[in-house]
Symmetry: C2
Subunit: 381 residues, 2 copies
């Protein structure tokens, strides 16, 4: 697929102004844009500008409320439970993370969970906020149910990513991954490319393993009640299915159970109704273990040992988590961010919808090659 | 392999008296036995009486010091770092978990990490301690390096299990799993049975995937510097290798980095020297999120939804984590615990070594079918 390269500044101006037009304050719009664009800068394309169309639909359909303000409904010195009241996930999550950082600075560690929210972007944005404050960060979220747990054919759990970050040099440890073996976006890519799914990725509505992306996506999107994506570890306990299922459960417990919110299987996808997404944010000040500089040095040495281990293939480098993202960030800040032509087309649509001059914001781009968005078809007008 | 069924009481008496003879106080011996036997009661055979021979060798060789007392070397109201001084892993871990529970009761949550320790048995014993106090528990440990991380052929990380438990009815959520795709013990079982390893389990010293258990075990035991077991998610990023590698990293960071102890690749296996194992214990009081009874009820409902989801195969039940263990515990407490004849033979050896009357403790058992222990060959006299 062809793509267009934009400078970070150009995309940031477009995103910020679009979210202002959607009804957010300029500070809120800047926060949302920052979360989205960090994903693009880190190379996590699925969670960057590519998601704009989903947020657009969610706001338009009254699932996300731009005027909602998060409310702390329970609080202790080390914790808080927040009701998002259907706010934009990014906004309540930045609020929650800042609260967790403040509490961690005061008491050493803190745990803030959130209910009644919406998609929050990349979990790793919030662990990066902890990193920027010199802290260890953990962030997690549940989602619509797409994961078929071990021996089930019904998707009960979400993609349920867990992110974990800890300061180190020259790159922090920054891990952010869905607990499904692959994200739903990967099935969409395989579908578009007419590629067969790999072994251990998905099951169809009968519970049998499936290599047919279209069929599995149909199960999820049509809410057939059966079929979906497998946990990391695949279908059988032999390959560790119960472990991925367990990590997904840990995510679910941290988010929906501690907040008293909706578990993934009770998320809503209907006009005018909030999704019910739940998040959690844990922040730990390394000072509670001793000298933060010594701890950072210890981790930095260990990460270098991992990177310089003997390679399975001399031509394939060994990475530590967050290294690729740090490299990508620097490169894209300098040289710009590639955006798929289909996403550009969606951005032009957003301009038209919001009464923004797309040529002024994005340039005069030929979008004839763009494919129509297949995402969130139930929301199409 | 044939086995002998013992009552819990009989095994407990044997283990307790053996550890007293090894030099522990009767209270310490009871604690160690409790950890070991919970593994057998839960059906986690690899970590029960089967491990006695390893503890025997470790004490005999001066790696574990029965007289060592754990020392708190750094402390805050929410945290502590403990130097185990080469104590028995179980003892320092019970001490650390009790400290974490005490702190969590006072401030809501607590994080205690431990360095310079030894093998601590099943991680889930310590999360069960948290459960018994009505708390959420997380426990983790690093180990000798056996995991070959993504794109590496060198084992740098350990088996690095993470355990997580939270109160629920009729069974708590109780998850305890190595972040390797399979534990080392599984390779030993396959080796004994002359079975080929499954895809995505292990690589040999060249970095190529291997189905040869003997060859891979040789890599680990002879410390060849290459070859070992893969993370959950297997060998390639396509199947989620980087995710299992990430979970193993989280374990490592929680244990060795926060405690300032030895990372898995710096563990020692030599006479007279402590292993350097590190652990971590996080305890969270559900009261910091609201009413613990409501939270427990919320989780209990969700677990039941998972168990009663549509099955992939009507004849194969869906479990939640900890359910099999709760069933096994009840059954074995009532009907006794099966111990492999080879393990019984090792127990007879321990009796002879310690001057205990094996017939009085274990009965007059024909151990002619027992295989010689292949474990820890470097320690053989």
């Amino acid at each position: 697929m062809s793509s267009v390269k934009f400078s970070y500044e150009k995309l940031e101006r477009f995103c910020r102004d679009a979210f202002i037009k959607f009804g957010f304050t300029s500070e809120e719009a800047a926060q949302i844009s920052d979360v989205l664009l960090l994903a693009d800068l880190y190379g996590v394309k699925s969670h960057g500008t590519q998601r704009l169309v989903r947020y657009h639909k969610s706001i338009e359909n009254g699932c996300t409320n731009p005027k909602a303000k998060p409310e702390i409904v329970f609080e202790t010195p080390v914790s808080a439970v927040i009701d998002a009241h259907a706010a934009m996930g990014q906004l309540v999550s930045i609020f929650a993370t800042n609260l967790a950082i403040k509490k961690a600075k005061e008491v050493g560690m803190a745990f803030v969970s959130v209910k009644n929210s919406n998609h929050f972007g990349i979990a790793g944005y919030y662990t990066k906020m902890a990193l920027d404050a010199g802290m260890i960060g953990i962030a997690a979220t549940n989602s619509e149910s797409i994961m078929v747990h071990t021996n089930s054919r019904e998707a009960v759990l979400g993609s349920n990513p867990i992110a974990f970050a800890m300061p180190a040099e020259p790159y922090p440890f920054w891990f952010d991954a869905a607990t499904t073996v692959v994200p739903k976006g990967k099935l969409e890519v395989y579908h578009k490319a007419d590629k067969e799914l790999s072994d251990g990725w998905a099951v169809d509505e009968t519970g049998a393993e499936s290599h047919d992306a279209k069929r599995v996506l149909g199960c999820i999107d049509k809410k057939l009640g059966s079929g979906g994506i497998l946990p990391v570890g695949g279908k059988s306990e032999d390959s560790g299915s119960h472990k991925g299922y367990g990590y997904s459960m840990i995510c679910e417990l941290l988010c929906s159970i501690t907040s008293g919110g909706a578990t993934s299987n009770h998320h809503v996808r209907a006009k005018g109704q909030p999704a019910g997404t739940c998040h959690s944010f844990i922040v730990i000040d390394p000072k509670i273990f001793g000298d933060p500089e010594e701890i950072k040095e210890h981790l930095s040495v260990f990460l270098e040992e991992l990177r310089s281990a003997k390679r399975a293939d001399e031509n394939v480098p060994i990475y530590t988590h967050g290294e690729k993202e740090a490299i990508s960030y620097k490169e894209r800040m300098e040289n710009g961010i590639d955006v798929d032509i289909s996403t550009v087309s969606e951005m032009v649509n957003i301009c038209n919808y919001l009464g923004m001059d797309s040529v002024q914001y994005l340039g005069d781009i030929d979008i004839s090659e763009a494919k129509e968005s297949t995402y969130e078809v139930s929301y199409k007008k």
